[in-house]
Symmetry: C2
DNA sequence: AATCCCTGTTCAAACGCTGAACGCGCACCG
DNA sequence: CGGTGCGCGTTCAGCGTTTGAACAGGGATT
């Protein structure tokens, strides 16, 4: 698929480290290589990320995965949306914990 | 698979309603019929739940999915474990939210 | 030229999940 | 007594997602 979490995590990682390889990104985010390639391609299809060929000073060829202006805008939007979702999740877990605590308290009096 | 969440939810549901059909249980927990059947069978294989043939007063045949003594013990264990995991998750989300808030604050000054 | 290493890309296989379909047994009715 | 309907548990082909081994390409090193 391509969830908001994927979008957020990838855009954030690329914002800070546009010079990582797909393998490094995958490892950093805990994604498989295939999934990362899929997600990255999706971001590029949307025009949020642009791959630029570049070579390190004295090293191999590689790509630079840079956020486009549209990507920067989108990253801001996704971040706000993701935050809101996390806040809701947080509240829900709080209730769940309260219920679980009562349950544990009752089960061995 | 069969996560702690599955174990907890099913054991809890059965503790309160041993007389529900698999379809009713699935609907209540938001599981598909196939998944519920799989999970329930797993609990029975472990010896935590026992299916007893019974017939409602003036109705059809059905099963009673009752927790065994071992099942009651296990339910208590799983509940504690599940609570602990939720507390950790809660703390982690709290940190994540804090980071996201700072990120949002910085992105449109 | 040959070898090595690190790229990005691909895609068959594995996995988890779904829900339509099936067989069974009971209750009701003609 | 047969027929029909209903709800039950069970099954499994099909689906969408995910995995990671395998591949092709290009620069560096020998």
């Amino acid at each position: 698929m391509l969830t908001d979490s994927d979008r957020y995590q990838l855009l954030k990682a690329l914002e800070h480290n546009p010079n990582l390889s797909q393998r490094q990104l995958a490892s950093e985010l805990g994604y498989s290589l295939g999934k990362l390639n899929y997600c990255l391609k999706a971001l590029m299809d949307k025009g949020w990320v642009k791959a630029e060929n570049f070579r390190t000073n004295q090293n191999k060829t590689a790509y630079l995965y840079q956020l486009t202006p549209a990507g920067i805008t989108e990253k801001a939007r996704v971040t706000r949306r993701f935050l809101q979702r996390k806040v809701e999740e947080h509240q829900q877990i709080e209730q769940e914990i309260e219920a679980l605590k009562q349950e544990v308290a009752q089960q061995t009096p």
